[in-house]
Amino acid sequence: MKRRNGPLFWLGMGVLSVIFIGPLLLVLLTAFKSQSESRTVPPTYFPSEWSLRAFDVLFFQDAASPVLRWFLNSMLAATMHAALVLVVCSLAGYALARMEFRFKKAIFGAIILTLFVPGFIFLMPNFLLLDKLGWLDQIWALVVPGAAGAFGVFFMRQFFMGLPRELEESARLDGAGPFRTWWSIVLPNARPALVTLGVLSYLANWNDFIWPIYVLFSPERLTLPAGLSRLQGAYTIDYPVVMAGAMLAAIPVLALYVFVQRYVIEGVASSGVKG
């Protein structure tokens, strides 16, 4: 009421917006430059001549770098990963929220304990397990191990505990078994939590870097982030091509974010308050 937001406040908001969005726009513009223009001193900001060469190279010219394939690999892996997380975490989270059984506390405690164990501990042993399973250099290496994380189960359990029990009780009185109750009563009421967890899992998998660069080897099996980092390893970096590739990796997640930003932000916010 007393606090008014003067011109200085709006100037600050404007400057901050430029800082957070400006670099992305500069990179997007670079993707439309020629290779020589990407290295001029002083740099140009808008391309003096708009060129689609970078996209042509990215998609059609370099057989050793099948970028469209990487894009599809990333999309497929992230989709399967998010689906797997949703299934296993909503099942396990429901059991932990609503059912009584032996060892419940021990099981829940063991799962929560791993929230505090840093992920790099698992790099070497999981690499060996994937080798034994024959999953190295396979999409399963990206889809499955990450779904064992504790966060999703914890997140779903917290959400289910907040749901009123009455709906489930009445389903039970109507003769529905536990699986049917879960599927047709509980899950439809858990849509916001499922969207949040699904999107967070999708983003994390799409963006994952350290794991795919070590468990994938064949050029045609790489994900987009892993592939792009190899493009950058070339002797002279063709920056318009690399920037076009970076935008190809950025635009799907930014587009997804525009549609579901409320879920993403609220999911992140809840991790701090509950955690």
Partner: protein, 323 residues
Amino acid sequence: MAVTTAQPTRPPSGATPAPGGRRSRGATSGIHGSRWTPYLFLSPFLLLFITFVAVPGVLGIWISLHDWDFLLPNKPFVGAQNYADLLDSGSPQFEAFWNGMKATGIFVVISVPFLVVLPLLLAILLNRRFPGRTFFRAVFFAPFVLGVAVVGLMWRYLLDPSFGMVNGLLSALGLPGDTAWTTEQPWAWISLAAVTVWWTIGFNAVIYLAGLADIPAEHYEAAEIDGATPWQKLRYITIPGLRPVLIFVVVTTVLASANMFGQSYLITRGGPGDSTRTAIMEITDLGLSQYRMGQASAMSYVLAVFLALISLVNVWALREKKS
């Protein structure tokens, strides 16, 4: 963790109440079904959890007690040798490991203060009432949804010492435009910390915002009636009110910075020299590129113990002090 695999061997018929269980079974089980139903619901997750978390957690220790070269058939047991080597300045991995630990330590020390304070200021700004608040919150959070690969590649270009746009903009403003952002110290550390702030500021800001929403407005109104300055309100209302959130942010931010990998892998490539090769870079390079997994596993457990101790110290130092 082995307990998770043990199914009940004796029928939990309800005739013998679980020790310590004061509530009656019938009232709390709520969901109709056989006694196996909970385990059926849990089994897909538990299968994954046991395979990819519980077993690897123990297997990693086993690996670290061997001279475990992934490419060699023989993996001789060496006891605690891999751990002892990390303390022996004559061993080949001594220098790499402590160089990595030093780099990780430097990054934590220079990045965490900014990653804790700047998001708090941003959150206080966003906590005011103004039109477009949700929009600006979404804009400032946007970089966080990008992966480290995108962030690293774009900033490597923007920060290029000769033709990068950061230097270009600085010289256009009449400032020195020849800073070696990625190839000289201390600029390389400053660049890595600044890029990390740009990338993740929205994450901590959103967590602070949720905490700020829980501070009652009456506290600020009362303070205003008493003529409190903005600084006093921050010091005596906002920060005490945020204490649990602040502990969470400090602990998780220290861990996140200690896990730094992609930024220096892509932006400085560990350089100049080996100065930005972090502990995680040393561990993955040794374990997953050179396949010397025994030594790398030992390093990862030592690093994990370090981080656990630091987290405990943080929680202890930030606890509510009763005077």
